[in-house]
């Protein structure tokens, strides 16, 4: 009996040691919230950041399992304040989304889309650096804390400078190349966009995520998305590789292959 109890206690102790469920939001040695951890959004913003009812899949033969689920949207005030010609461009992108959405080509998600794609991402925080590793397309950002660096060139994930505003980590993102979309519905911003992200502890295992998008070439005013992020609490969780390149090759290069040949599953499937 004693032995069983001891074993049970040991098991509990082990579970506690490996559990990521926290009762209060961790603090870094410098007193700031420690954002380190694996996080994921739990909404349908990756389909469409605006409010949307359910919809047909992009190819009818994909059926219900890849139909678009409904969502109340994450845009403050509901609709994105597009300039008229920019709204028409968004609609064009929606029509051509099967071919044109960079997600289908395994291209990096950019900011803020990477945050609410349906994949986990990991924040690692030290007093000098905050880095974020996103599972999709193995995208990676370095955020300079109190850095003065300016974007030397445009990139998919942009150039990030972070600072603390009380308990909120504020990240100014510039230098985005404007090629990433905001969702699968064709919403977009241009390479002129300036994005201000705000990460604020909402509870021991939740962050409030906000991103304000300021881009006068596309929108009539700055606008904001807002959503909770959830801590991934699975025991010993690790972000597994999602090397999506093989799955996009037929889409990108299929028209250039030797007629009559096909991808050999053995060479590219996991």
């Amino acid at each position: 009996m004693n032995r069983i109890l001891t074993a049970a206690f040991a098991l509990l102790a082990t579970a506690a040691a490996h559990s990521q469920v926290l009762t209060e939001f961790p603090r870094a040695p410098n007193g700031r919230p420690d954002l380190s951890g694996v996080w994921q959004a739990l909404n349908t913003a990756h389909w469409n950041v605006e409010p949307h009812v359910s919809g047909y899949p992009v190819l009818l033969e994909l059926g219900a399992q890849l139909a678009v689920p409904p969502g109340a949207g994450v845009v403050e005030g509901g609709a994105i304040p597009y300039l008229p010609e920019a709204r028409a461009e968004r609609d064009r992108r929606f029509e051509n989304r099967l071919n044109d959405d960079p997600e289908g080509k395994c291209y990096m998600g950019g900011v803020p889309r990477s945050t609410y794609m349906p994949y986990p991402f990991q924040i690692l925080q030290s007093e000098r650096d905050v880095v974020i590793y996103y599972q999709f397309a193995t995208a990676f950002r370095r955020i300079f804390v109190d850095g003065k660096e300016e974007a030397p060139l445009d990139t998919w994930m942009g150039w990030s400078n972070g600072r603390w505003d009380g308990n909120t980590f504020v990240v100014e993102v510039t230098g985005l190349n404007g090629l990433a979309w905001l969702d699968r519905a064709g919403n977009y911003a241009s390479s002129s966009a300036r994005i201000t992200e705000r990460y604020t502890p909402l509870g021991p295992n939740h962050l409030q995520y906000e991103a304000t998008i300021d881009d006068a070439t596309v929108f009539s005013r700055p606008w904001t998305i807002r959503m909770p992020l959830y801590r991934v609490v699975d025991q010993d969780f690790r972000i597994l590789e999602f090397k999506c390149e093989p799955y996009a090759e037929e889409k990108i290069y299929g028209h250039l292959r030797k007629p009559g040949t096909g991808p050999s599953a053995g060479a590219s499937s996991q």
């Binding site: 040695p29 410098n30 380190s36 960079p102 080509k105 395994c106 291209y107 990096m108 990991q122 690692l124 925080q125 030290s126 007093e127 000098r128 650096d129 880095v131 590793y133 397309a137 193995t138 990676f140 370095r142 660096e149 030397p152 060139l153 990139t155 998919w156 994930m157 090629l179 010993d236 690790r238 972000i239 597994l240 590789e241 090397k243 390149e245 093989p246 996009a248 090759e249 037929e250 990108i252 290069y253 250039l256 292959r257 030797k258 040949t261 096909g262 991808p263 050999s264 060479a267 590219s268 996991q270």
Partner: protein, 318 residues
Amino acid sequence: MKQHTFVVAGLAAALAPLCVQAQKQPRTAWGDPDLTGAYSEFTTAPLERDAKYADKEFLAREEYEEFAKARLETRFGDDETEPGTQADVHYSMGQFQLSENEGVHSLNLRTSIVTQPKNGRIPALTPAGAARRDARAAERRGKEFDGPEMRSLTERCIIWPSTQPPILPRGYNSNLQIFQSPGYVVVQGEMGDPRVIPTDGRKLPDKLLPQWNGTSVGRWEGETFVIETAGFHPDSAWRNASENMHVTERLTRVDEDTIEYAFTVVDPDTWAEPWGGVYPLTKLDGLLYEYACTEGNYGMANILSGARTGEKETAAKP
């Protein structure tokens, strides 16, 4: 007695620099040795030792300049490419100052990166390893340009020898960066995926899902960061290795600008004995920028469309 004194004195002399070094090591705020920064993997030592050096591991200082110069010339000379080969049409690495020996590098008097076995040469493949290599080559033979899946993993933007463990310098973008946070070390090759390595004491699980870069766990042994990696994707096939390859990497700061990178690979299915090597990583005064490989992979499109054009021209010939 005299001999005994000599040994003790020798030992003290050997230890003294290490002790001084250990005191000077920069530390993170939470007390781990601080390896953070951007580093060049460039080095003058070739992977394998020229047979003429036999078991000679180090060059004398006066031999070094000529060694480094000769290596640069043989490795990246502008002429002497074989017509019709990829090397013949590829730009010269030297032309853009991208060749290994032109990058930032620490003095490395070694005659080769490989230090184990003692002859500095990679052991021969076992019959099973050779059979695996041959089967893979046979699968592609005559179909090399059929479609993207027939091209190399590097051309497909999947993995690079300069970024997957064990890390080896290659022609260009041979740089990496290291970040640290409590419980993690991130090692990212410039062209590759960040390896987010836990240092919280967890072991490699017995059952691992295959990963292109394997699965890594890390630990600190004094001043040295030790990484154990296993669970490779069978198609990762680093130098024809099997999915059972186990890699141990050891990163130790030698001075302000240099980290010694040592690695050992164990894969009895491929090599009869473990082998490994050592080379310096040299601190870069700068940052690494985003390497968007697949997003800008015009090379793949050009390779395939070139092959299709060639086929049409061949078919049109009487």
